[in-house]
């Protein structure tokens, strides 16, 4: 690992420790929900990172269709996979938060349903990339990613467009929304830490994808030369 990358990983680990401390011990306890509200400090940053990854996937897919660049395709694959990891965190921590507060694990409201659909879209994207064969796979995946990204703004706007079981937005949510300044402080530390984790994971997965592509190309070259054992 390059020294600069190693430094970034070390800083991110420090940030994660500090932001978790802020979330668990510094931020005040929310009056209505109590301790369980602290899930917010992991739940919302995970949703942010998932959305960011799917946005990168969208841009990389457009770039692939325009330039046919293998680097753009590798970035699309990497960002989609990391996005699914963070979206999975959102879909698991949400019901764990909902059970003590709402009394139910799940309900088919707009935010929850569109998030589940988003997860299914990108899981199907990864399945397509993994199991489809032929020269058109990357093109099909890029097209699916572009159409799939339509769901991201729908997920974001769902709690603004519809009255849902899911709470209304507390950040950028209008006149009657907002967070205690200490809560907001803890939230932004977690947002920063999770964004750094997302960047590291996408970078690592991108590098892996490029190495796998290289191995695949070398296998194909050996096969053409008749050198396969």
């Amino acid at each position: 690992m390059k020294p600069l990358n190693l430094l970034f990983v070390v800083i991110t680990l420090g940030l994660l420790g500090f932001s978790t401390y802020q979330a668990l011990f510094v931020a005040p306890t929310e009056q209505t929900m109590g301790e369980v509200q602290r899930i917010f400090y992991y739940h919302v940053p995970s949703a942010w990172v998932a959305g960011l990854c799917f946005f990168v996937n969208f841009l990389a897919s457009v770039a692939y269709l325009v330039k046919r660049s293998s680097n753009a395709d590798a970035l699309a694959a990497a960002s989609a996979e990391v996005g699914v990891v963070f979206c999975t965190i959102v879909l698991i921590t949400g019901p764990i938060w909902g059970r003590p507060v709402w009394g139910i694990w799940w309900t088919w409201d707009a935010r929850l349903t569109t998030t589940l659909v988003l997860w299914l879209i990108y899981v199907s994207y990864l399945i397509l990339r993994r199991f489809a064969s032929g020269s058109q796979t990357q093109t099909l995946a890029a097209v699916l990613a572009i159409f799939g990204f339509v769901d991201v703004p729908i997920v974001y706007m769902s709690i603004r467009w519809f009255r849902t079981q899911h709470p209304s937005p507390v950040i950028a949510g209008g006149a009657n929304s907002g967070l205690d300044p200490i809560m907001l402080h803890a939230f932004f530390w977690n947002l920063l830490a999770f964004t750094c984790v997302g960047i590291i994971l996408v970078m690592a997965r991108y590098r892996l994808q490029k190495m796998e592509n290289q191995v695949e190309a070398e296998h194909a070259e050996l096969a053409l030369q008749g050198g396969v054992r």
Partner: protein, 43 residues
Amino acid sequence: MTGAVALKAAYIVVWVILLGYVAYLVGRYRRVHEEMKDLKRSS
């Protein structure tokens, strides 16, 4: 499920998923390195 239990469960789940994904990536890195070594030997 009480709030405190839910809080602990959620934080544990996040760390398990993130560390599990890192372990999965490390495993794939190892496999690719092995394949690269094999290719170098055979070429």
